[in-house]
């Protein structure tokens, strides 16, 4: 890259030094480009640890882990505290669905299991796959909001005009932050039909019996 500058005796020594420094600086540049991408997973980890943005465990949406299910029987209910839980759900622009909770608020004690139904209806004329992304507000309560059942764990697939009732079973852990009296669980549903790869198992002889069912596989 370095060229002899006009009207000057560039010693080979200077040129070698220049090249060495240029290479180092270019490596820093490439490293920083990589760092921009590294911020993506770093941010996810950071959000999960702090509950930033009210994001729950990103992969499972606050789902109780399988190994913890047994402990749910031993849970004690703290009747000294009553928390109001509010529900909000709607479809993002571009998704012609109706999505709403059966009730906008319930009261629970920490440790108490509660079931709330949500309703989804595909108002459009075509089959749509959607995904609901949960969010908890205030954010620092997100880590204490646990769900054993939720439509947000998987993608929702509704045929044109189809209606569906979808239960959410949740509880607040006993150590739920003392300063929160009201917590809001919000769902936003997004159209992911284009992002879902549909694999047709038809014509596959080894596949016993069931045909026509499509297996949806998320592409990202």
């Amino acid at each position: 890259m370095t060229q002899e500058a006009e009207g000057q005796d560039v010693t080979e020594n200077v040129e070698a030094n220049n090249n060495k420094l240029v290479i180092r600086l270019v490596v820093i540049c490439l490293g920083m480009f990589g760092f921009a991408y590294a911020l993506v997973p770093l941010y996810e980890v950071f959000c999960e640890v702090t509950g930033l943005n009210g994001r729950m465990d990103l992969t499972a949406g606050g789902r109780v882990r399988v190994e913890d299910v047994a402990e749910l029987d031993n849970i004690t209910i703290d009747t000294s505290r009553t928390i109001t839980v509010e529900f909000v759900a709607d479809a993002a622009p571009g998704l012609n669905w109706r999505l709403e909770p059966e009730t906008t608020r319930v009261t629970v004690h920490p440790g108490e299991m509660k079931l709330v139904n949500f309703y989804a209806e595909n108002l459009s004329g075509k089959d749509i796959v959607a995904r609901a992304v949960p969010s908890i507000s205030p954010g620092h309560g997100a880590g204490y909001f646990k769900k054993t059942q939720c439509f947000c764990f998987d993608e929702m697939s509704l045929a044109a005009g189809q209606k569906e009732e979808m239960p959410v079973v949740f509880h607040l852990t006993e150590d739920f932050p003392k300063d929160i009296r009201t917590v809001t669980l919000a769902y936003k549903a997004f159209d992911i039909t284009d992002k879902v790869k549909v694999i047709e198992p038809a014509n596959d002889v080894s596949d016993s019996g069931e045909t026509g069912d499509t297996v949806a596989q998320v592409a990202w």
Partner: protein
């Protein structure tokens, strides 16, 4: 001693040049052109905001104006102007014959006209009625810049990539030049402060321009290649965009001010006839500002809902920056203390810089406080703040530098009458333009909106008058530069300013500076 030949004739001289002075001139002329383009866009904004209601442009076009004004001024006017000053002055200040990588230097300049032709073409197409120019604000927050963005966003992305590559190459060139081409005896702690501030700026550029490139690449793949970095539907998060953007964006604001600090630190000693007070502390203060700039980015995002510990951390770190900045302001004032001061135009601009930049610094300190920021966020108070630091800060620093070195570049003194008129008009109108924005901002006028409530009408009328006045005043600068560029004016001596010879090597070479300087390294005392 190599062979001495003059430059090529005609357009080839400028297309093929590897001479640091030619490239410096190209950068400066380009940035002046972009300054006027960005200024025209600002005039459209102020024309619309002169009266409440919608009268001149429709809201969507207004958004395109605010977006492109910001992009053109930041990437087209201020940054290239500094690179132009660096090209002209750094080799002359450290006793080097040229920049270390002259051909790359040529390339990094000629990428810029390409980048800005692409961006400008989207504005022209929009004006002619074909689609929209970028309209999502210069900060291009997702999903406005991804899901909801016009088709021209891809023009914008390519253009940002090119300017990024240009800036990075320019920065690499500066670092290599400073490290490897200093004249014997020119130790790091003997370098003029302009060289120091540019060295640190170059490292900031190398560190953050690639992050910006990463951000726009993610936008591109989100828009066209099915990724979901910033799309909640695919598991991404739009707030992540803001983190990445401001990780670039905050160091970027120091990229736009540190070289001005260097210019002012060169000018104030000359016209106070005293050496710079606290040279070493100036160097350390500049370095501390640069380091701190990496850990304050989320102060742009207080209202996105940070955890308490995060908000406190970013608030305290931000406030901490006022300490090294205060050291600098103190040192400039102490340099003037009991100096035999004279007030030539560069000194006038430098003084205006110190005072007006400090006002911008104070409003920045107010914005740094998390709870108070909730009121100021996204209002004209913020607009007032960053225009005080970028117009009466960065741009005034550039004006000061241009007036200071123009006689050395051209061999003639600028037209002092016009230059003084330029100074007084700029200083009066810039305050008329930006000071009342503090008041309307505190009273709740939101930024980026083409209309406003009636109670803001009187202030906005005055702000628009200030805007038009400031814009027209810059024609005086154009006249001064053209006159001096054509060699019309009083011939100047080699040291140009009384006693300047002892403040820097650039004043030891003839005026105008010959095409090649320091082909043999000077002796540093």
């Amino acid at each position: 001693m190599g062979e001495h030949h003059g430059p090529d004739k005609g357009i080839k001289r400028w297309l093929y040049t590897t001479n640091h002075k030619d490239i410096g001139t190209l950068y400066l002329c380009f940035s002046l052109a972009m300054f006027f383009l960005g200024g025209i866009l600002a005039m459209v904004i102020r024309a619309e905001l002169m009266y409440p209601g919608l009268q001149v442009v429709d809201p969507d076009f207004f958004n395109q104006m605010t977006t492109c004004h910001g992009l053109v001024m930041v990437f087209g006017a201020i940054m290239p102007a500094f690179v132009g000053l660096a090209n002209w002055m750094i080799p002359m200040m450290i006793g080097a014959p040229d920049m270390a990588l002259p051909r790359m230097n040529n390339w990094s300049f000629w990428l810029l006209p390409v980048a800005f032709s692409i961006l400008t073409s989207s504005i022209i197409m929009s004006t002619l009625g074909f689609g929209q120019a970028p309209n999502f604000g210069w900060t291009f927050y997702a999903p406005l810049s991804t899901t909801y963005a016009p088709a021209s966003t891809d023009f914008f992305i390519v253009s940002v990539h090119l300017m990024g590559i240009s800036s990075i190459m320019g920065a690499i060139n500066v670092v290599v030049t400073i490290f490897n081409l200093r004249a014997p005896g020119m130790t790091l702690m003997k370098m003029p402060l302009f060289v120091w501030t540019w060295l640190i700026t170059a490292f900031l550029l190398i560190a953050v321009m690639p992050v910006l490139a990463g951000a726009v690449t993610m936008m591109l793949t989100d828009r066209h290649f099915g990724t979901s970095f910033f799309d909640a539907a695919g598991g991404g998060d739009p707030v992540l965009f803001q983190h990445i953007f401001w990780f670039f964006g905050h160091p970027e604001v120091y990229i736009m001010i540190l070289p001005s600090f260097g210019v002012v630190s060169a000018i104030i000693p000359t016209f106070s006839r005293k050496p710079l007070f606290g040279y070493a502390s100036m160097v350390y203060a500049t370095a501390s500002i640069a380091l701190l700039s990496f850990v304050v980015w989320a102060h742009h995002m207080f209202t996105t809902g940070l955890p308490l510990a995060g908000a406190l951390f970013f608030m305290y770190m931000t406030m901490l920056i006022s300490i090294p900045t205060g050291v600098k302001v103190f040192n400039w004032v102490a340099t003037m203390w009991r100096g035999s001061m004279t007030f030539e135009v560069p000194m006038k601009f430098a003084l205006a810089f110190v005072i007006l930049f400090t006002i911008g610094g104070f409003s920045g300190l107010m914005l740094a406080m998390t709870p108070i920021d909730y009121q100021y966020h996204e209002t004209y108070f913020v607009v007032a703040h960053f225009h005080y630091v970028l117009v009466s800060g960065a741009a005034f620093g550039i004006f000061a530098g241009v007036y200071y070195w123009l006689p050395k570049w051209t061999g003639v003194m600028y037209n002092e009458k016009l230059a003084n008129a330029h100074f007084w008009c700029s200083t009066i109108f810039v305050n008329l333009l930006f000071f009342p924005m503090h008041f309307v901002g505190l009273a709740g006028m939101p930024r980026r909106i083409p209309d406003y409530s009636w109670q803001f009408a009187d202030f906005n009328w005055w702000i628009s008058i200030g805007g038009f006045g400031f814009g027209l005043s810059q024609l005086l600068l154009l006249a001064v530069v053209i006159q001096a560029g054509r060699g019309k004016g009083k011939k100047v001596s080699d040291e140009v300013w009384e006693g300047a010879e002892k403040w820097g090597l650039e004043w030891t070479v003839p005026s105008p500076a010959p095409y090649h300087t320091f082909s043999t390294p000077p002796v540093i005392k």
